[in-house]
Structure formats: C-alpha cells, structure tokens
Symmetry: C2
Subunit: 268 residues, 2 copies
C-alpha cells in the first residue's frame, strides 16, 4: 500500500521517530534501519520492512524499485513524505534517505542450533552499540552461528548498532539472556566457552579450540566478572606489548574469532 | 600556577571549549584529553598537559595529586572552576571530570625510525575517529612503531579519537602524510607494504610477512584506491564466510596486525 504523509504531526511520523528510542522500540517490538544498501542487505537476507519511508521526490533506483515491489507484495506500506518530514524521521539531512521499520527478533537460546556453526560470539554487558554492531559484522564474516548477549548489553536494534553491523543484524541470530540462563543452556549440550583473560591462560595461538566454540568478551571498562572467567573451559591470552592491558572489546572478539576459525574451519 | 575561574565568559573557558572543534585545534596546535585515567596514562608516558581543568570542589585522589604536582613543577597551569563551567568545557555533566590541554605532535615521516619496530600501522582516509583511536590502541598492544595517516583522515586529536585510543595517543608515534610522500619515504628504505585485498592475494595466515611490516587499511566505505593496492608488496586475504565482503576497518587492521605479530615477533 502506498500512502503520502503531509504533516509533521501525523501519527505514523511520530511512530517512526519514536523508534529512535529504546523504550519505544521495546514497546513496539519494532526497529528502524536506514539506507538503501542496508535495506537491500535485509531484503536479500529474506527480511522485509513492514513500512518503508522515503521522500516524495526521491530519485528512482533499481534496488529501491525492487524493495518497493517486495514490500508491497508482502502487504507492507510504502510511505512518501516531504523531505523535511523525512529529515525528522531519519535525523539526517539527506533527501535520498530511505528508512524501513522491521519487527524485532530474538531467537531465544532454546531456538539456537549450536551444531550449525563452529563459532558463536558472546558479549557480556557490552555497552557501546557500535561495538555490538561491529561484533555482528565480524560474526557474519567468520560464519558464526550468532551473537548471544549476556546481562545488560546495548540494544542490538538501535540505529547505531544496526548501522555498524552493515547488514549482519539481518543475517546473524541474536539471543539475549541472563548469565544463569546462558550457562545452564550451554552446559546442557556440547560447547566450549572461551574468554580472553590475563590469568591461568593459554597462548591464544596454540589453544585447543573445540567446536562449537563460544567466544566471550566482556564489558568495555570492567571486562568479564571473575566468576564468568572461572566458568570458562579455556582462558586464552593475547600479546599485550604496550602500556595497556586490554584491546577494544570488538577488536578482541575479532582477533579471537579469526584465530578460532583458523583452527576449526577444516575440522568437522 | 593555580588559578580559579569564575565566569563562563572567561577567555580561558572559551579557549578550552574551542578545542572541541578541529579548526581551533589546528589553529592552536593543542588538544583536549579528558579523564583522570587518560591523563595519568599521559603522565606515565612522559606527556604532561600545559593546563589542567577541574571543579573547585572535586574530591582529592592520589593520582590527581601526582598530576597536579607534575603539571605545576613543569610550569603548567592548574585551573579550578565551578561545576557548571566545567560542564561547558567537557560537555559532560560529571563534577569529577578532569581535562588537560596538550600540545599536538606530528612526528613527521622523516623522524620515524622504521627499524625500531617490526609492525607499523597505516590508515588511508579513515573517517571515523573511534576507528582511528582504536587503531592507536591496537598499535600499542602489538608493539607497533606508530600510526601513519594517509590522505584525509579523521583528526587523531579529536576528543573521540583520544578517548578510543585509551592513552595510546600518548605512546604511539603519529605521522600524517600525503600518499606520494609516504610511498616515496617508504621506498627510500626497508619496508614491506601490506594490505588486505580481494584480488591477487595470499592467505593472510601463510603470507610471507617481513619486518618492518607496514599494514595498511583503507577508508570505511570505499576501501583502498586500486593504485594503492597495486603499490603493495603483499596483498593478503582473510576469510569472509558471510554475506559481507569486508570487516570494520579497525577490526581488519587488528586481525592483520596480530597475525603479522605472530609471524614476526621472534624474528630479528
């Protein structure tokens, strides 16, 4: 369905704008993704927006035509509006902007098939949405099964996280869980829990990674709680040759993930 | 020297605030770093602020006392001000905030001693200050000689980059150069130029890294220009098993840097 929106006070405009805030995303169970490239990534991953918002006078583009056709065929809405109204929705002064509203998804631990991938990423109390999106992007690159978010993490459906994920938010499974639930689920089946740590640890290059391997990184300032480290099957250490004793969380996760991939890729 | 500032319109307050903008940083050749931890990292790396700003009623702290003593001994200024004024300077509503003004430094290619480290990081047109700061932090961790910024990069002295560097902005050499100057300098001595690339490339795990190894990453959206890739001694490829064909720039640099480190660390 096509619809043209003409006023700032239109309830749909208010709804779209409200999705920039976590509180409203959680209430509505919906999130915004912006940009033709990101929306095309979503479409090609089998995820279509329920609503598509763009400027009335936006230039045509074959990828946009394809998106409009698919959204319409799936019963979604295509909303056209003045550039000024679109700017209010996207927060960007870009008349070529396109935004889509998607239903949130949380796979839930119980629906994860741990045998489907050798690597899984786990983030604990990760607070920066850019780091979270970057971990999703890395997970896509290493063929991870998904990202499990432990305790109080940034919202994977925030505009910043979605943008940093470069589309991986649509391809990676995402499950959110408390630590107790996660560790209970993990121990009910196969799975090696691995964390970078400074104590009792093995060189990350020669460590005995085993599939399915769950690579866990902690909060940006505090790292992992000691009891979470204790619960790991393997603690690995990376060289830290300078003054600092830690890497950026998303970087640490990626260095570990690529190392584990090199060990596990050709193994069953 | 201690000084108490009482008005918002004080020229020093205006000066401090102005350093949040690149234009003023370049004019003044000064930058701001915030937080007691970061300022302590600077002090322990032998870099002292010329000015130190804090709230009049800030709680005492041994690390702050040490900083004040060193700044004073070095002839710097310690500025105390109302919390409201400090908030204007730091942009943060935190009465415990401390900010320091540092002289910018650009080592200049001609002053880099390429034999001092096996790994150097090179960023080309990197636009995100968080990515830039993260690369500095990674450089510190892998014992890199420094970060060379090619073409139009984000400002390494922006508040965001300084914060993301976690102190590495004070320990890593930073040189800014145009491509032509960089490649001329590089070819005038030893040095292997390496980039991640999708064409004519070698598996990054088995590639013949050689010291001093210059690891180059490109712009966040466009990657490296083809002619820059052509000029590399080695093009390496990392597995990309998902939908996307690239990693976050700072992540790609870190995965490469840790790989090269594993190859070069125990070699002369």
């Amino acid at each position: 369905m096509h619809r043209t929106i003409t006023g700032f006070s239109n309830p749909t405009v208010k709804f779209l704008r409200s999705l920039r805030e976590k509180k409203h995303r959680k209430q509505e169970k919906r999130f915004l993704a912006e940009g033709l490239r990101l929306l095309t990534d979503a479409r090609e991953s089998g995820r279509l927006p329920e609503m598509l918002a763009m400027a009335t006078k936006r230039e045509a583009h074959p990828l946009l035509d394809a998106l409009i056709a698919d959204v319409t065929a799936a019963g979604g809405e295509v909303l056209e509006m003045d550039e000024e109204i679109l700017t209010k929705v996207t927060g960007k002064d870009n008349p070529q902007a396109v935004a889509g509203v998607f239903a949130e998804f949380d796979t839930g631990l119980e629906n994860l098939d741990r045998s489907k991938a050798p690597i899984w990423l786990v983030a604990q109390a990760l607070r920066d949405p850019g780091n979270l999106g970057t971990m999703l992007r890395t997970g896509d690159a290493v063929g991870a099964g998904g990202l499990i978010l432990i305790d109080d993490c940034a919202d994977p459906f925030s505009v910043e996280a979605v943008r940093a994920s470069m589309g991986a938010v649509f391809t990676q499974s995402i499950a959110q869980a408390r630590w107790e639930d996660f560790i209970g689920w993990l121990r009910a089946g196969d799975g090696q829990l691995v964390a970078a740590s400074l104590r009792d640890s093995t060189d990350y290059r020669t460590a005995p990674y085993a599939s399915p391997c769950f690579l866990m990184v902690g909060n940006e300032s505090r790292g992992l709680p000691a009891e979470y480290e204790d619960a790991c099957d393997l603690r690995v250490t990376m060289p830290m040759l300078g003054r600092a004793d830690s890497l950026n969380a998303a970087v640490a996760g990626a260095v570990l993930a690529y190392e584990a991939l090199a060990h596990l890729r050709w193994k069953p």
